[in-house]
């Protein structure tokens, strides 16, 4: 189907909206209520465009293209309409920008600067006043005065989470967004509402007043909250991660779950170790590694156990597997059994680990015990020392009902098992690393902030320990690790691991 937009010919599938056709050509028509992942509501009227020969302006988001149509998006009539719609929306809008967290990424501010720039004809004292700073859910704050009633939030709860907590009450200039009686906005995806709300009506309670958005730096990364591995953008400044936002990527919806967004909290949790903690007390991280190596060095290979984890990256698990091989112990486990799948139909995976597919690849090459066998080994009394990730070593020791000494890598404030030496480790926010999600897609986490001084990612720590033991595994640099991954794991032999942009999927 052919049509003209601003005089330029274009061809679209039947059923495409004018807004969609224009966007494909790079013409951005303003929108508030339209969202590509939600149904079309057509209530905000900011997207009005002119069709030559049509008596009235039409809404571009809800009008399908027709053969031979000629659309004007910048005519005088259209620009006047946008200005007027904007003035309408701002009649009862409070002068809140200085205290509004949306400022800097606000649809009203942006379009006012682009299309409005009118003087307000409505005195402040006459504005309709509504409920402000409402506590509507665990993660959200609602300000009804700032709402422009685009109903994106209502549609999100109806169509995406299908929980339907929100509704519009009353009519005309009295209408406002409200919770349905007895409900609270506490579905697993509630923070997406703060993202899709084009103004500052719904804002995040967690990010509230923490930082102005224009100060934030952005790093493209992935979420490690579960096996789905959603694309995220880490927003950070001065080495502090402030929030995680969804990042558009082919094959993923535009959402993130609340739990995933909160994974950055562990970075600055008060109990997260920045120094090694052993019987001797606090040690510098490097000294902690030396301590672990001296422990290991005193034992026979078969007395040492090494524990890989689906919560650690490909690099980390490879280095631990190599370390086990270099020491010459048979007591290592790179196994994890799981049933991944997206049960809620949106994002959240039943497998909470970001890298079980990756671990399985390494397990297939390096072998080692299964979890059950490993637990038996720990219980057998032969093993005298365990090295692994804090949470899992703790669980394994508890399951095996033993209390053997260990050195555990800690990424969070989780307390360590009784006789453990805690080694602080750099998380996926602090080092570049790779995961493989449940569907076999390669996921790249990129370092957004710096780890505390001396704190290394696990693969580097394993390399240091191996060197101190006199059994070097030669994984000093990340390039070396990636080379080794390609050389050892046949499935990854052709993978573009070091090309930061390239996509890869397991067959």
């Amino acid at each position: 189907m052919k049509l003209k937009i601003d005089g330029k010919e274009t061809q679209v599938q039947p059923g495409t909206s004018i807004l969609g056709a224009a966007q494909a050509m790079g013409v951005l028509i303003p929108r508030y209520c339209y969202h590509p992942s939600l149904s079309v509501a057509g209530n905000c009227r900011i997207c009005l465009v002119e069709i030559e020969g049509a008596p009235k302006l039409v809404t571009a988001c809800s009008t399908p293209c027709a053969e031979g149509m000629s659309v004007l998006t910048t005519s005088e009539k259209v620009r006047a309409a946008r200005r007027d719609v904007l003035e309408f929306l701002l009649i009862n809008h409070p002068l809140d920008c200085p205290i509004c967290d949306q400022a800097g990424e606000c649809g009203l501010q942006d379009y006012y600067m682009e299309h409005g720039l009118h003087k307000s004809r409505f005195p402040q004292a006459d504005k309709v006043r509504r409920h402000k700073r409402r506590d509507v859910g665990k993660y959200l704050v609602l300000d009804n005065e700032r709402c422009i009633l685009c109903t994106r939030c209502v549609r999100f709860c109806e169509e995406v989470t299908k929980t339907g907590e929100l509704c519009v009450r009353e009519r005309g200039d009295r209408s406002y967004i409200d919770l349905k009686p007895g409900s609270r906005l506490d579905n697993d995806y509630s923070l997406n509402i703060a993202d899709i709300c084009p103004v500052g009506a719904f804002t995040s309670a967690d990010f509230r007043f923490k930082k102005r958005v224009w100060f934030l730096e952005r790093t493209a990364s992935v979420c490690a909250g579960c096996a789905t591995g959603c694309p995220i953008e880490v927003h950070h400044r001065d080495n502090i991660v402030y929030r995680l936002m969804p990042r558009p990527e082919e094959g993923f919806p535009a959402w993130l779950c609340d739990e995933g967004r909160m994974t950055c909290k562990s970075l600055r949790a008060p109990g997260r170790p920045a120094a090694a903690f052993c019987e001797e007390g606090n040690l510098k991280p490097a000294a902690g590694l030396r301590f672990a190596a001296s422990r290991l060095g005193k034992l026979k290979p078969e007395q040492v156990a090494i524990f890989g984890s689906p919560f650690m990256s490909l690099e980390d698990n490879l280095a631990l597997a190599e370390l086990a091989a270099a020491i010459g112990t048979k007591n290592f486990c790179l196994h994890f059994s799981t049933e991944p799948g997206i049960k809620d139909g949106i994002l959240k995976n039943t497998d909470h680990s970001p890298n079980s597919r990756g671990l399985a690849l390494i397990h297939a090459v390096y072998g080692g015990y299964t979890r059950e066998q490993f637990s038996e080994r720990l219980a057998s009394g032969e093993v005298r020392f365990v090295l692994g990730r804090n949470e899992e070593v703790k669980a394994a020791l508890a399951a095996a009902k033993t209390d053997i000494p260990s050195s555990v890598f800690s990424f969070s404030d989780e307390p360590a098992p009784g006789r453990a030496c805690v080694l602080p480790a750099a998380s996926h926010f602090e080092s570049d690393c790779l995961f493989i999600n449940y569907a076999g897609r390669l996921r790249r986490a990129r370092a957004a902030v710096k780890a505390p001084e001396g704190v290394l990612p696990v693969w580097q720590a394993a390399d240091r320990i191996a060197s101190m033991l006199g059994a070097p595994i030669r994984l000093e640099t990340r390039a070396a690790v990636l080379e080794r991954l390609k050389a050892k794991i046949p499935e990854l032999a052709a993978a573009p691991l070091s090309d930061d942009k390239a996509e890869f999927e397991l067959k």
Binding site: P94, L95, P98, I99, Q124, R133, R208, F209, R212, F215
Partner: protein, 192 residues
């Protein structure tokens, strides 16, 4: 108009005479001027034109174009008018403002306030952009104090406590958030 405002002075660049080229007479003439001032100051110290800055200062003329040390204005109830919007910090070309925002816990409808507000005057270039940028009429450079003449860097570091101050005739009632606050304050007073 402009031409009349600019005074010009012709400089006579004639070559030096022999006497001047010998320097001795000129040095003696210079010494004479110095001595004259020395004896005059010695016998009549009130005539001295310089002051012992920074201990002594000459009061500045009140002038709208004068930019002096910053202050943060207060509302009637003593809370800062500043709402921690970060406009001044964003506008500051010297990156010398550092704000930490927080939320009122007493139900104040303005919601946001500066928990911390620091200005490092040793980096400030006194440009006045911060005052210009403020949407709440909360920051001003009208204290009449010229920053400087400090013995340590710390003395030049202004915290919120150093900055909060009203001048006589205030508080001013300007600013959108301030209006909200005043309404709220009114209802509070009535309840009491």
């Amino acid at each position: 108009m402009v031409a009349r405002m600019i005074k010009t002075k012709k400089v006579d660049n004639r070559p030096l005479t022999l006497l001047e080229r010998l320097y001795f007479t000129e040095i003696a003439a210079g010494m004479l001027v110095t001595l004259k001032h020395f004896f005059r100051n010695l016998f009549k110290p009130s005539n001295i034109v310089t002051v012992n800055y920074p201990e002594d200062r000459i009061p500045l003329p009140g002038n709208a174009r004068l930019r002096t040390r910053h202050r943060l204005k207060l509302r009637a109830d003593g809370t800062p008018k500043c709402v921690a919007c970060y406009m001044c910090q964003t506008a500051c070309p010297a990156y010398c403002i550092d704000i930490t925002a927080g939320e009122y816990s007493d139900g104040n409808p303005v919601e946001k306030y500066p928990v911390g507000f620091d200005i490092d005057l040793s980096r400030c270039v006194m440009c006045g952009m911060c005052v210009e940028a403020c949407p709440e009429d909360a920051i001003a450079m009208d204290t009449g104090e010229i920053p400087g003449g400090a013995l340590t860097r710390d003395e030049m570091f202004m915290t919120k406590r150093d900055l909060l101050r009203n001048l006589p005739g205030e508080p001013s009632l300007l600013g959108a958030s301030n209006r909200l606050h005043n309404e709220w304050d009114g209802t509070r007073v009535k309840k009491k």
